[in-house]
Symmetry: C2
Subunit: 416 residues, 2 copies
């Protein structure tokens, strides 16, 4: 894409109340726009990142058998009343409104109840199970405060998956496969070393649930980790009993601040029992379905990545989710840069081409702020040597590469 065509420009006018680093950088670089506290629009560069994260997540959910669908934002009161979660005293993040005839409606802050209600039409027998479904859905949550940029929004994008199984064994097999799929997601988006499967409070149905927590000072959670033993415990379940059960002592654990980027949850048969979602097993017995839910905060993940990968100059995108792989900057070399842009794009490389008429310093500052993995500069000086200057955003060194050697393979090697 030509940067001259991109309607966003880097900004300096950030609202003083924008205290979170991810929102500051993403706003300045033209990825997001703040509509109100906790609700951000995704501008062209930001939407590209969101779509790339979604695609990584989609591939991994499909790999464990997930089927993509899309529930509604509008939700029915009576569905949530079956589990006593319509009440604002019980769930304090509802946005509600009403139809013209006075019927109350809610806006989806979660979809566990509606999707389980829907499944009554599709689940009757053990032969219908297991079912794994997921969606990318805009969730609306009336949070009291929203000061963490896109890490805690009143409106945010979430991938939620639900598993409907006949019994605990079938459930556990999927649950275990999903933990692996989640770890692949976090590795692919660049957070492998920072993200831990964490024991957390399990609610009413199981002893523990599992969270995926990423180390960042911007996180709202506190966990205790031991990297060698690969153990992580949310402070909410840190007790003598837990330590004993997991075979680790308090001294072996280090306290870190983290952001919860994913969670998986075992409902057992309880939720489906409350809602009346039953199936007939192979012996003719009617049983409530065994339910699991599996979330990844897509927009929160984007914010967390920015918190982890930035420096004083701007964002440093991991390559798999960068909006473009290459930032091609022309300094008064328009014709030859045009030719190179056309050539790279034709080779299937995603290039943002800074073809703007602007001084070099401003172009470099914008490039560092936007943070694409590989910068290629073409100037009079480089062209004298039939070369371009190459620099990885994550490193300081530049190198000259001859134009004839700048193949797709070369660029992929540089990026890897």
């Amino acid at each position: 894409m030509r940067q001259s065509q991109l309607f966003t420009k880097t900004r300096k006018d950030i609202s003083a109340e924008e205290v979170s680093k991810n929102a500051q950088l993403l706003t300045r670089a033209g990825f997001i726009y703040k509509e109100m506290a906790g609700a951000y629009a995704y501008l062209p560069l930001g939407l590209r990142v969101i779509e790339k994260i979604k695609q990584v997540v989609r591939e991994e959910m499909e790999s464990v058998g997930g089927q993509e669908m899309l529930m509604t934002a509008l939700q029915r009161k009576e569905v949530w009343e079956t589990t006593n979660r319509w009440d604002d005293e019980v769930v304090d993040v509802w946005f509600k409104s009403e139809l013209k005839n006075g019927t109350e409606v809610g806006f989806g802050w979660s979809h566990e109840e509606p999707i389980t209600e829907m499944m009554k039409h599709y689940i009757h027998s053990y032969r219908d199970l297991p079912i794994f479904v997921y969606q990318f859905q805009t969730k609306l949550r009336n949070e009291l405060r929203a000061k963490s940029g896109i890490m805690r929004g009143r409106e945010f994008l979430m991938k939620d998956m639900y598993s409907y199984c006949i019994d605990e064994a079938q459930h556990q097999a999927f649950y275990a496969a999903t933990i692996e799929a989640y770890l692949r997601v976090f590795a692919r988006v660049g957070l492998k070393d920072q993200t831990f499967v964490t024991y957390a409070s399990g609610g009413a149905f199981t002893e523990f649930s599992h969270e995926f927590q990423t180390i960042t000072e911007a996180g709202e959670d506190k966990i205790f980790i031991n990297k060698e033993k690969n153990i992580a415990i949310n402070e909410e379940v840190l007790s003598e009993e837990t330590l004993k059960e997991l075979g680790v002592s308090r001294d072996e654990l280090t306290e870190v601040k983290t952001a919860e980027v994913g969670n998986i949850f075992n409902f057992g048969r309880k939720k489906c029992e409350e809602m009346g979602l039953n199936f007939v097993d192979s012996e003719g017995t009617s049983l409530p379905v065994f339910l699991g839910s599996y979330g990844i905060g897509i927009s929160r993940l984007m914010g967390t990545i920015v918190e982890v990968y930035h420096d004083e100059k701007g964002i440093i995108w991991p390559k798999e989710i960068a909006p473009f792989q290459v930032h091609l900057i022309s300094l008064n070399q328009d014709e030859r840069a045009e030719a190179l842009y056309t050539e790279l794009t034709a080779a299937g490389i995603e290039v943002l081409f800074d073809d703007r008429d602007m001084r070099a310093g401003a172009k470099f500052a914008d490039s560092d702020l936007i943070g694409l993995p590989l910068r290629i500069v073409m100037s009079n000086k480089t062209i004298e040597q039939d070369a371009v200057e190459i620099k990885l955003r994550a490193q300081d060194e530049c190198q000259l590469v001859l134009l004839k050697e700048l193949t797709k393979e070369k660029i992929e090697t540089l990026l890897s």
Copy 2:
């Protein structure tokens, strides 16, 4: 995809209140699920159609220079007050709620005002113009009645594009290009012959606006057309004056029922003047920006296509937006059908593979209901001749095709 893995099944239990043909067929075939009147979830097959329609629209919007982004559902009262459209007396489809601190918020029924407000950060000079942006957004509209299935929803998916130009000439060039892009969209989704660029009421800023109206008995509009002269007039602007201006007489026009699948709208400088979105032109003069808006109802388009393309047995999807191109049905030929499924899929053909253990009649009925363009049946009888039976959903005739002749090219020829 294996049909045995698809969690949806064809249904017969349709709510008696579901009077619209598109919702009946799409629900029975497992494409959609009704959460409440006017709000439908998209099940795996339905979401595939939605995504295909989006991709057609995306390609055509990019072809005229559109940049994709995504605004928020949550909207601010004060933004809409600038144009006097917050008032429920003026706009009667608002869903509203409030934040914990009592601040009123609205849910996006349109995004003209918020996106124009946002553009104040990005538009300052004539050098910043033109800008063309679009989004695929879930719109929420508190409709009094919602009885047309996915053709008029309280929650529905829309592509809305906005053009910001320096003057009428720049606007008209884009407006004309967009009319052509829209016609390409409707042609690609199979509605070329049924869809007319229609003169309609223009509101305050221009004499006419343009609607894209598709002939269907399920439509809510009435237009008057002359196919030879390629003229279509919405009844709301049918007057002696209009007829004279367009050079057509009433006798030459035929009345038809239609659904509005798209519209384009010229705001002139009025909206930006009201909202204070100005730019400095090449002579240093400050002027309000020239605004256009361009909508396509994505989910309505899906519903309209079903209304146009169905028979008593089910849906007949046009190929570019069918969830899969081929429905491969195995009748007790599991191993060889498996091999064919693998082969076709590897060749890049989208196949729904009915590998279920079920009698032939039920499989054929499901296949007709779901409505994929090409059905391939493998049975003992066909295998005796090293062949499969091929049938287009839109035609009655079957033909035997030798397996060795069933290449990708052959299938593409059959589909074209």
